[in-house]
Amino acid sequence: MERQSKALGADLVIPGLALAFAIYFFVSTADLIWEAKANGVVIGIALVVLIALQVVRAALQLKKGEGSRGFDPLWQPRDLLWKRIGLVAVTALFIATLPWLGLTLGLWLGMLAQLWIIGVRRWKTLMLLPTGTAACVYLLFIFVLDSGFPHGPIEMLLAR
């Protein structure tokens, strides 16, 4: 059977994040009374042991030549990397500007930008899909449920 080379660097990202969080938990709760941190400490120690096992396993695989230190699975396929980063950035921007733009306008702009990033170029789709989605979301969250979303220019205009 052909041996598959594993990207062990990528395999250790989640354990790395988990370890960082466990250390943060231990440090930030060091002064607390035992009962307040007992559960987290028990879980944290178990987590650290599991991470140690994973690190040992990765080191052994590296030694046997069964894997590399690479992070390839996270970037692959390369041609989609910037699209992915763009989608996350637009979503973050949508959340950050929500208090000013309001739900409806923010969603419309966000969806338009994401469709563009992902490669949609038909102007009809670029107009209709964000408008339809924003209208549905407005009707459900603002008009029917009157939930606490920040109101922007569209909501103000329609509320008159």
Binding site: I14, L17, Y24, E35, L47, R84, T91, L98, I118
Partner: protein
């Protein structure tokens, strides 16, 4: 309880058909949308349920609750985004079925398993209510800690193909679940200075991030959800696929029955809930199967088992509420508030003082399931078409609309950012085979685990050996070890060197 009494109850519930239907329709919509929980919907509709007569309020709430459990499987099958934690196990075989062009069949199986599983356990509950209600009394904090560990370990082993990675995901989730103030001294822990985290990590944000956002980021690699070679089959799907789904349901009727009972028994345990039940049912189904290696590749049993158990939970959750006055879950708690507002006192005396209500809840549930199959089955064909929509249109809708839904639980913009953060973590987990399901269930169980562990430690004055002192608890430990060892032993037996040689 006489037959005449039961028949009268059924007749009374059927007369409320319009209320039941309204609850079903709303429950389906709420269940399909990730982030909308039945308890939040019921809270929003409190002015309505408090204003109408108690029988109507009850029929509406029960129908909404059951339909919600059923509908959570739809996005789990079509987009690998469970509508709720209880549908997370459905993604394991439901989504591969959809990718193979069998989305319609998978949805039909999910509906029929949900309805018949729910119906069978509801009828069993009606017959066995006085005895079932005592089951919860045997489970104390010690047993609950073991049940939580049992659930998490099973999920970690089942969901991830690599057990170590599954356990890391699960324990990482558990530790995230510890964020917030503790139960005894209200000391904030690991909140990074955010006041929004004092109440703990919002589950809806975690669900949306780990499943919806991360899935959308992975989904852009494909043109459509359905695989290229199965596209033709998916496009030609007709009513025959619905009939095929029904045929498989009839063929696998026993599978529905026993996995539904797993849901019922786990549902009776307060707090354990659908997410554990569906995974335990999936694991048991795989363990007793003649072809366990096919699980995860898209087989009907992998959809039937979790969906049947997920709906078996619905009647189980209401048993402690009716019999002991202890709500088995958050939706049951909201229902209890409404019933108490109407002057109903839950507890053991309810069966003698108000048998109509005590049994009426479950009769109402049975009626809701009967109405549900008629309502939803014809929709399967149209729902399955989602897998044929190009992902370039689906991805922005999933990303932005689900992020908006993350706001709905607590109405904090912070939760939307948190969902995005969970999405990035979920994406990394997806790409490196750390299963997000184990992480999510860890986040869900974290606060409950702590609650029971601290209680057990308080009773034992800090002695951890208390976890091995109860007969029921020890039986659960044995079951846990058995469930872990049997698949490993089986795998070893199948792959042993003497067998591999020609």
């Amino acid at each position: 309880m006489t037959w005449q009494f039961l028949l009268d109850q059924f007749a009374a519930q059927f007369a409320l058909w319009w209320v039941v239907w309204l609850g079903i329709l709303l429950g389906i919509v709420v269940g399909i949308l990730p982030g909308f929980s039945p308890q939040n919907t019921l809270i929003m509709l409190l002015p309505l349920t408090l204003a109408v007569p108690v029988d109507q309020a009850l029929a509406f709430m029960v129908a909404l609750y059951c339909a919600n459990h059923l509908a959570g499987g739809v996005p789990a099958i079509l987009m690998r985004i469970p509508g709720s934690g209880g549908a997370a196990a459905t993604t394991l075989d439901g989504y591969p079925m959809a990718r193979k062009g069998q989305a319609q069949q998978a949805i039909v199986l999910s509906f029929t398993a949900s309805v018949f599983g729910g119906l069978i356990t509801t009828l069993a509950t009606i017959a066995l209510l006085p005895w079932l209600s005592k089951l919860g009394l045997y489970l104390r904090s010690v047993e609950m800690v073991i049940i939580m560990l049992f659930g998490l370990t099973l999920i970690a082993v089942i969901a991830a193909k690599d057990t170590l990675k599954g356990l890391i995901s699960g324990f990482f989730g558990l530790l995230i679940g510890v964020i917030g103030t503790d139960h005894v001294y209200s000391e904030p822990r690991a909140t990074m200075g955010f006041l929004e985290l004092y109440d703990g990590v919002p589950l809806v944000a975690a669900l949306i991030g780990l499943f919806a956002v991360s899935e959308a980021l992975v989904m852009i690699e494909e043109k459509m959800i359905v695989e290229d070679d199965a596209r033709e089959r998916a496009m030609q799907a007709s009513w025959a696929d619905t009939i095929e789904g029904l045929r498989i349901t009839v063929e696998k009727w026993w599978h529905i029955v026993w996995t539904a009972f797993i849901g019922l028994f786990i549902g009776i345990v307060p707090g354990a809930g659908a997410s554990i039940a569906s995974f335990v049912a999936y694991q048991q189904s795989r363990m007793w199967s003649k072809t366990p290696e096919l699980y995860g590749t898209g087989i009907p049993e992998g959809v039937i088992a979790p969906e049947s158990a997920n709906n078996g939970v619905t009647s189980g959750t209401l048993v402690p509420m009716m019999a002991l006055g202890v709500p088995g879950g958050s939706t049951a708690a909201v229902m209890m508030i409404v019933l108490q507002y109407h002057g109903m006192v839950m507890g053991p005396r309810l069966f003698s003082t108000n048998p109509g209500l005590a049994y009426g809840v479950f009769v109402s549930m049975a009626v809701a399931y009967i109405f549900m199959i008629i309502t939803i089955l014809p929709l399967a064909r149209f729902m399955a078409r989602i897998v044929l929509i190009e992902t370039k249109y689906l991805v922005p809708i999933i990303l932005l609309v689900t992020i908006v839904a993350a706001f709905s639980e607590r109405q904090y913009t912070f939760d939307m950012g948190l969902a995005l953060l969970f999405g990035v973590i979920g994406y990394i987990a997806h790409k490196t085979n750390y299963h997000v399901t184990a992480m999510l269930v860890g986040v869900i169980l974290g606060p409950l685990f702590e609650q029971y562990l601290v209680r057990a430690l308080r009773i034992s004055e800090g002695d951890l050996t208390v976890l091995f002192t109860s007969p029921v608890g020890n039986a659960l430990w044995a079951l846990l070890v058995f469930s872990l060892v049997v698949p490993l032993a089986r795998s070893w037996w199948t792959n042993r060197p003497s067998r591999r040689q020609p």
